[in-house]
């Protein structure tokens, strides 16, 4: 089953101007069927206007064991957050 229909990760763009966001995964024989299945499984309620599918095997993931060294060093560097100045109202949504 999984040898003929490998796993794909699905990314949907909700609106023009926004980025594609990971929404889930599915099994499909190839990219064309994966796109169709993604349309049927993940956009039934008008969730988006564009779909990407990527073979799950093509994704390289960070090692959970390295989570500490990867991500914890940022926790005491709050000066990197853009929260120390006020955004003028005219700028709108950032």
């Amino acid at each position: 089953m999984t040898s003929t229909t490998p796993l794909w990760e699905v990314f949907i763009r909700p609106r023009n101007g926004l980025a594609h966001k990971h929404v889930g995964s599915l099994h499909a024989a190839d990219e064309e069927m994966a796109l169709q299945s993604a349309r049927d499984v993940y956009t039934r309620r008008g969730e988006g206007n564009s779909i990407w599918v990527v073979p799950s095997a093509m994704i390289s993931a960070s090692d959970p064991d390295q989570a500490g060294e990867n991500f914890e060093p940022t926790s005491d560097k709050i000066y990197r957050h853009p929260t120390f100045y006020e955004i003028p109202e005219d700028v709108g949504h950032m």
Binding site: T5, L26, H27, A28, A29, E32, M33, Q36, S37, R39, D40, V41, R44
Partner: protein, 248 residues
């Protein structure tokens, strides 16, 4: 009443096939198809609803879409025989969908220039849905036809079982001919070249042969149906008949 009959033929095609495809819900071979097939079923049932509502409006007399869908018997149904064929296996279901959508897509595209405003409205939405059905069912036909030995054999069996039901799609009843003359509905026979090309292109890619049909199985437009439709209607209409007038 003639226009109502012509609209009912279209509505019945969509409702009966929509119901057939919905029978897969919970039984599809893949989770992904278990969502894809009800999606397609709902497209067709939605189109049927719009058409029944219009047919009821033409009839007047306080008729409703429910009366037309749930209170007519087998002999009063005007759908073509192709759409009532039992689901069979996944190959037969996908092939039947391809045959139907390959006809309905050019039909709805042509109906977008109908002289009737309601038909134009229904056609715009339905044409997009049918374009997707051709793609979805077509991709499966290609993958099964050009797939394993078993899937190819099943596709060939599906063609043997269904191809002689496709001729009826292109035949216009007296009621349809009247609607065609006044420009309300497209001429069914004119869909033939587009249908032939769609099927030939997909079959060629699927390594399948388009058979030569010597005898077309027809009768649905005259209310002469196969045994399967009676069972389908009995199930589909049972709730409405058991609880007349019930609402959510």
């Amino acid at each position: 009443m003639t226009l109502q009959t012509a609209i009912l033929e279209l509505a019945d095609d969509n409702l009966v096939l929509g119901h057939r495809v919905s029978e897969w819900c919970g039984h599809a071979p893949l989770l992904e198809e278990d969502l894809a097939m009800p999606n397609m079923a709902l497209d067709m049932i939605g189109t049927a609803r719009s058409l029944y509502a219009y047919a009821a409006e033409i009839a007047g007399e306080n008729q409703t879409e429910d009366d037309l869908a749930y209170l007519r018997d087998e002999r009063e149904y005007r759908n073509c025989l192709l759409v009532e064929r039992r689901n069979g296996d996944f190959a037969q279901t996908m092939l039947r969908q391809l045959y139907f959508a390959a006809f309905m897509h050019p039909f709805w595209v042509a109906a977008q220039t109908s002289t009737d405003e309601t038909i134009r409205g229904i056609a715009g939405k339905a044409a997009k849905e049918m374009a997707y059905h051709i793609r979805h069912a077509g991709e499966w036909v290609v993958r099964m036809g050009d797939g394993t030995e078993e899937s190819a054999a099943r596709m060939r069996e599906a063609i043997d079982a269904l191809h002689h039901y496709t001729g009826e799609l292109f035949v216009s009843s007296d009621a349809a001919q009247a609607a065609e003359k006044s420009g309300i509905l497209p001429v069914r026979a004119e869909m033939r070249p587009t249908w032939d090309k769609t099927i030939l292109d997909i079959f060629t890619e699927a390594m399948l042969e388009v058979p030569t049909v010597t005898y077309d199985q027809v009768g649905g437009r005259a209310g002469l149906h196969s045994e399967g439709l009676g069972h389908l209607l009995a199930e589909m209409q049972s709730v409405h008949r058991a609880h007349p007038g019930a609402t959510w």
